[in-house]
């Protein structure tokens, strides 16, 4: 099948899809007049019931916490899969010439930006129950801060930090904590993922019980997972450039 026929078949299918999709959305309630009762209810009760001012995170980490647990394991499995696909046979350190870092000015600016990013990432991960944010977003910010190390220093420094066994342990612990926090209520004869921690004062960082705790554990897992991903990809690229240079 050549590409022209493929395009033709695609357009035939696309027209069919577009027609059915149009029929599907044509009689939806008018835009801006959403009638779902579930979201309204959670909006109305989340502050009172869970002491969480951000209803989105109250859903993610509490009301629908079970779904987020599954999502977290998708993340875990994907990181694992990417590392497995890109793994390279162990070999002695190649004799690549020492990489030259960038100028001192860049290093200083990167150090400043790094500290700001780390603080911001921690802030976002720990304030998810109050304002938009949470473990997923904060974790990605924290992990991307590590890229500054690579830019300012060189790969060996980056590798020393991100290939540390602690990163892998943290990733597993972050994923595990979520399940453990969910399992504790079973011992207390409550349903899985019941909010069993003290709820605290609304608006306080240490409020909303398990929402804050789960958000923090997700933050740890996402940070470690994305650090591992970054390391795996960079190592693959650098090993290949090294091979090309040796040839």
């Amino acid at each position: 099948m050549n590409s022209r026929w493929r395009t033709r078949i695609f357009f035939a299918a696309a027209i069919g899809f577009a027609w059915i999709y149009f029929l599907g959305v044509k009689n939806l309630p008018p835009w801006g007049d959403y009638r779902g009762i579930y979201g309204q209810m959670i909006s109305a009760v989340s502050v009172h019931e869970r002491h969480a001012t951000d209803a989105v995170n109250a859903i993610d980490y509490d009301y629908r916490g079970f779904d987020t647990l599954g999502e977290e394991f998708i993340l875990f499995a994907s990181v694992l899969g990417a590392m497995l696909l890109l793994r390279r046979p162990e070999r002695p350190e190649t004799t690549t010439p020492p990489e030259k870092g960038l100028s001192d000015a860049v290093k200083v600016s990167a150090a400043v930006a790094f500290s700001v990013l780390v603080i911001f990432g921690i802030y976002i991960s720990t304030h998810g129950q109050l304002t938009p944010g949470g473990g997923f977003q904060g974790g990605v910010i924290l992990a991307s801060a590590s890229m500054l190390i690579y830019i300012a220093e060189n790969f060996s420094v980056f590798k020393r930090i991100t290939s540390h066994p602690a990163v892998e342990v943290l990733e597993a612990l972050g994923a595990g904590f979520y399940a453990v926090i969910g399992l504790v209520p079973l011992v207390l004869a409550e349903p899985f993922l019941t909010n069993w921690l003290p709820l605290g004062t609304t608006g306080n960082v240490f409020s909303s019980g398990t929402i804050a705790a789960i958000s923090a554990s997700v933050g740890i897992e996402v940070t470690a997972g994305f650090l591992l991903l970054g390391y795996t990809y960079l190592e693959d690229i650098i090993a290949k450039t090294g091979e090309e240079q040796n040839e």
């Binding site: 590409s3 493929r6 395009t7 078949i9 695609f10 696309a14 899809f17 577009a18 999709y21 149009f22 959305v25 044509k26 939806l28 008018p30 835009w31 801006g32 007049d33 959403y34 779902g36 579930y38 979201g39 309204q40 959670i42 909006s43 109305a44 989340s46 502050v47 009172h48 001012t53 951000d54 209803a55 989105v56 995170n57 109250a58 859903i59 993610d60 629908r64 779904d67 987020t68 999502e71 998708i74 993340l75 994907s78 990181v79 899969g81 990417a82 696909l85 890109l86 109050l130 304002t131 938009p132 949470g134 997923f136 990605v140 608006g203 996402v222 997972g225 991903l229 990809y233 693959d236």
Partner: protein, 118 residues
């Protein structure tokens, strides 16, 4: 005309979906294909946010507004958050597959990857 504007946001979501699908169907490069899949998935964000939107609804963050305020639907926003995370990790996994395919076959064109080899 008014009724057309009522479904216009949903049609945009469908349009983005078809754009992504077109990219996947006609792709000649695996990385391009993965990015097309990301575009396709973006249509779900547009669709979900439009479905949950309420005219004059506040953001579902009860800081500075009283708990009784009408807000846009937080459930679809939570769903979208899930969607973003899953997309990011799936893209990472698929790109790793593309790298592996390039290592094995020496090409990134889906047309040349036809033969399966052990």
């Amino acid at each position: 005309m008014n009724s057309f504007l009522q479904i216009y946001p949903y049609l945009i979501a469908g349009w983005i979906f078809l754009c992504g699908l077109y990219g996947i169907a006609t792709s000649r490069h695996l990385v391009h294909m993965v990015i097309s899949l990301a575009v396709l998935q973006t249509s779900t964000y547009v669709l979900l946010l439009n479905i949950g939107y309420r005219i004059h609804g506040a953001a579902p963050v009860f800081v500075g507004i009283s708990p009784g305020t009408i807000t846009v639907d937080p459930v679809v926003q939570a769903l979208m958050l899930t969607d973003v995370v899953v997309e990011a990790t799936v893209v990472a996994l698929l790109l790793a597959m593309a790298v592996t395919a390039h290592d094995r076959a020496g090409t990134l064109s889906p047309d040349d990857l036809r033969m399966m080899r052990g």
